[in-house]
């Protein structure tokens, strides 16, 4: 009991420490921002947009990309050969801007995002390949910032910020939004600093030659983005993360709890696959390998902690333990409660940065929903383990209805 409590405490404390990375000092916070672009444009971009049964949102996304202030970019939309509706939308948009937009058809029998991206890679002509999802809302000035970031830092990879915005949609979307906020605002910067980074699925930019050398994406991996980050990290690629709330790519949360459970299962299972592939063992330093091991197993530790900590408290309160032992079982509650405190502050900060009004009821939902959300994450983690060890590796796609877009329009 004491041992479990101490382990849980250490785990929760380390996670909290890393989550708060960006806010450690005013200087570190300032360093996480994109530097203001110098107005010059030197690089050319190939923006890959894989779309699958996403005819409802694709056109808007591409039109928004076309508004980019950067001059040198092309858009490559990848559609499946069995998905005529999306293909029709893609072709119609492409015809409005010939030369800028290319539509590539993916003929792979088993369809998934990494295979779609690999299909498009040979067509990419730009210096840098960027990936966006079909439902992303991309800021017109993003490419200029990224161009400058590549040149100013000599990076091989630039990861921009992604943010879920529709925190009002459901009880779990609030937590989902905050999760993204803490991940992109803070935690990823730590990974970039340490030289081991699981990249995000979109708004990620890689130098085309580096990407080709790494043989593109892994078509069998459920978390191709994480896998790419791990492989590039172990090859010593320089990764830069920059976050600026004004030019962050906006996304929506999964539209139902079931969809979120599936999405989470896929990510967690992907993390497991990356762990088993063992590419991370090639990382140069011991610290990086430990960070990799810890990060990739993190969701499962989290699932375990999310269940064990409340259980421990219940035991401490109900069972007749010696007072000293009972006090120690409360140890893991410290970082958990601290986390809750920072979530509240994070929600306020999130509201300020995105110009959203956060009401008292939102804070209430945050506090009340923390434990149920932990249960959902734990369930997803257990489901991922079960799927991985029963050999079910198929891709459960998250559907998109455009909730963040209607909100933005309103």
């Amino acid at each position: 009991m004491i041992l479990v409590s101490v382990i849980l405490f250490v785990f929760a404390a380390v996670t909290l420490w890393w989550t708060m990375h960006a806010w450690r000092t005013p200087e570190t916070l300032a360093a996480t921002r994109f530097a203001a672009p110098d107005g010059e444009q030197h690089l050319t971009f190939s923006l890959l947009v894989p779309a699958r049964h996403e005819q409802a949102v694709l056109e808007r996304t591409v039109r928004r990309l076309l508004e980019s202030t950067h001059e040198g970019f092309e858009i490559i939309i990848i559609v499946g050969h069995d998905d005529p509706e999306t293909a029709a939308v893609a072709r119609r948009v492409a015809s409005t801007s010939p030369g800028r937009i290319l539509v590539v058809t993916d003929h792979n029998e088993v369809k998934n995002k990494p295979r779609a991206l690999n299909t498009a890679l040979p067509y990419a002509r730009g210096d840098v390949v960027g990936v966006f999802d079909a439902e992303d809302e991309v800021h017109p000035e993003l490419l200029e910032h990224v161009d400058h970031a590549f040149r100013a830092t000599g990076a091989d990879v630039v990861q921009g910020g992604v943010q879920l915005i529709n925190f009002h949609s459901s009880w779990y979307s609030l937590h989902n939004c905050l999760e993204y906020f803490f991940w992109f605002r803070s935690r990823l910067h730590l990974h970039a600093d340490k030289g081991f980074i699981p990249l995000g699925g979109n708004t990620v930019f890689v130098r085309t030659d580096v990407l080709r050398e790494a043989n593109g994406w892994d078509g069998t991996c459920l978390a191709e983005d994480c896998d790419l980050g791990v492989r590039l990290s172990s090859r010593g690629a320089k990764v830069v993360v920059a976050y600026d709330s004004t030019i962050v790519t906006r996304e929506e949360t999964p539209h139902s709890l079931g969809a979120m459970l599936k999405q989470r299962t896929r990510w967690h299972q992907g993390f497991l696959q990356v762990l088993r592939k063992g590419e991370w063992r090639r990382l140069p330093t011991f610290g990086q390998r430990m960070l990799a091991r810890y990060t990739l197993t993190g969701p499962f530790l989290q699932a375990f902690a999310g269940l064990a900590i409340p259980l421990g408290i219940a035991v401490a309160l109900v069972a007749d333990l010696p007072v000293g032992v009972a006090l120690i079982t409360f140890l893991p509650v410290l970082p958990m409660a601290a986390n809750l405190m920072f979530q509240v502050i994070g929600l306020r900060d999130f509201g300020i940065q995105y110009g959203l009004r956060i009401r008292a009821q939102d804070y209430t939902r945050l506090v009340l929903g923390l434990f149920p959300f932990g249960v959902v994450l734990s369930a997803a983690a257990l489901r991922a383990i079960w799927r991985e060890y029963t050999g079910r590796h198929n891709w459960e796609l998250t559907a998109h209805v455009g909730a963040h877009l209607s909100k933005a329009a309103a």
């Binding site: 000092t25 360093a31 100013a152 007072v323 009972a326 920072f342 502050i345």
Partner: protein, 517 residues
């Protein structure tokens, strides 16, 4: 690397390219001065001042913690949070190692040396982080360390010394030069430990918050800084009520002690010690006893409060000193005897801060006249302070006030036949000495508990007749009317040995069980 463009560090002091003259490092200044004060504190620590009952109580409670008997040698009733004597217990190896021969209270005082060393170093650090130059911070350290009041009360085993050391740590962390989030969280935790060491230090909390607020001004991380502080404070502080909850002692009940019940007593039922302005009140007498030891720091600190409030960087210190003063001067209210221990470091910082600021503003280096004026004032001040403080230090280094206690302890351990079968009533100074001399802990009774603890009364079915010896000390004779059993014991006993003279004497009295009705 995620750094796109590192902004210049906002608060970093510009480093001169060529150093014209080697500067003495802070650590050396603070370390040497602290060592000097420690020598003054340690010298004759067993002889002066007279051992007080409170010191014995805290030591006995620390002994109970060490022996695994719970949080006190009697039923713990949430009178004070226990962290102070838990720290005392954690440091108990020190006297056993340094001076095994001394009586318990005198030896126990050695534990205070590391605590006071921390306080002195932190006074220097807080001074530096409040914008004082090195000489100003050193002045603050010496103003505290050489004050006769500090040389007296700083030696004694008071929980307030632990509390004020942690609170100074909290202020220093709140003024963190790197403004690191975890420094703020640590400041919160230090505040909580301070409050759990001695609850009255809570009064200084607004000063720590102000320091935090000022230090995080115009930074992007202020809400996070405040959040960290509150988190550290609440989470560490929460363990105390949690302890009460786990023992089922949070709310008052018929047959058990409780945390909230103790608070109700402390805040509402406890008799006040009167107003400081009432010449006949206990508070007035207490303040006079402090002034007897040192007027300079107390009055000088008092005068420095207002100017300190007007200098931005001294304001947190000014606020702390102002609140502590206002609470001491409030009418009614209860004032503990060791209250001043918490006041001294803040007064020293305020006084030194105001003097330093004044001298810096005068710019004595600019012309000869200013330099002469500053020098004249400094010499005059020193000629006023030095003789008084010298007398105080001399008393602290030479007086032998605890001889009666030492003799009584020796008598109790050698001259009483069959200690293990003897029931003896003592004050708390001698309690632990008796237990160590072979008396049964259950049969060494702190006089105060005879009439106030039903559990103790139950151990003596025959009342005062079950007691064999009574040790009468000034603390015991102070208020016999409130304690009937103690009064009966005094009436039905004869003196078999007497140490010391007049009011300070200690008598070993044998209880006469036969020749009374």
């Amino acid at each position: 690397m995620s750094t796109l463009e590192l902004p210049a560090r906002i608060n970093a002091s510009p480093r001169p390219a060529v150093r014209t003259r080697r500067e003495v490092p802070d650590l050396l200044i603070a370390g040497v001065l602290t060592a000097l004060v420690l020598v003054l504190l340690a010298w004759n620590i067993d002889g002066f001042p007279t051992a007080s009952d409170d010191e014995g109580t805290y030591l006995a409670q620390a002994w109970a913690v060490q022996e695994g008997r719970g949080l006190a040698h009697y039923t713990y009733w949430y009178d004070h949070p226990p962290l102070g004597w838990i720290q005392l217990a954690a440091l108990a190896w020190l006297p056993a190692w340094l001076a095994p021969g001394l009586i318990t209270v005198a030896a126990g005082r050695l534990v205070m040396l590391p605590v006071q060393a921390a306080t002195l170093l932190l006074v220097y650090l807080v001074g530096r982080r409040s914008g004082l130059p090195k000489w100003g911070a050193a002045l603050a350290l010496l103003t505290l360390g050489l004050s006769p009041l500090f040389l007296t009360m700083g030696r004694q085993i008071y929980l307030d010394s632990f509390a004020v050391a942690w609170m100074l740590g909290a202020v220093a962390l709140a003024l963190s030069t790197r403004r690191h989030l975890w420094h703020y969280a640590a400041a919160g935790a230090a505040t909580a430990i301070a409050i759990l060491s001695k609850e009255t230090i809570l009064l200084v909390l607004p000063a720590v918050l102000l320091a935090l607020w000022q230090n995080s001004a115009r930074t992007s991380t202020r809400p996070w800084a405040l959040g960290s502080y509150v988190t550290g404070l609440v989470l560490v502080g929460g363990f105390y009520p949690l302890y009460a909850v786990l023992r089922g002692e949070l709310f008052p009940g018929a047959d058990h002690v409780s945390l909230i019940g103790a608070w109700q007593f402390q805040l509402m039922s406890r008799d006040g010690s009167g107003s400081v302005f009432d010449a006949s009140s206990g508070t007035n007498a207490l303040v006079h006893s402090w002034l007897y030891y040192d007027r300079i720091l107390l009055i000088g600190g008092l005068l420095a409060i207002v100017p300190a409030l007007f200098a931005r960087r001294l304001r947190p210190i000014g606020v702390a000193a102002a609140i502590l003063t206002a609470v001491a001067l409030r009418p009614g209210g209860y004032m503990p005897a060791m209250y001043v221990v918490q006041v001294l470091p803040f007064f020293a910082l305020a006084l030194a801060g105001v003097i330093t600021t004044a001298v810096t503003r005068l710019e004595p280096r600019r012309d000869r006249r200013r330099a002469v004026a500053v020098a004249v004032v400094a010499v005059a001040a020193l000629s006023f302070v030095v003789p008084r403080w010298y007398a105080g230090a001399e008393r602290a280094l030479t007086a032998a006030d605890n001889a009666p206690y030492e003799q009584a302890a020796a008598y109790l351990s050698t001259r009483i036949p069959d200690p293990a079968g003897t029931t003896v009533v003592v004050d708390d100074v001698l309690w632990l000495d008796c237990v160590r001399a072979g008396y049964q802990p259950d049969r060494v009774i702190w006089f105060y508990k005879l009439d106030l603890d039903s559990e103790v009364a139950a151990r003596l079915p025959g009342g005062w007749r079950d007691v064999d010896y009574l040790v009468s000390s000034p603390a015991l004779r102070q208020d016999p009317s409130g304690l009937p059993t103690v009064g009966a014991l005094l009436a039905h006993s004869t003196v078999v040995a007497e140490f010391g003279s007049s009011d300070g004497r200690i008598e070993i009295r044998k209880v006469d069980k036969e020749n009374t009705p």
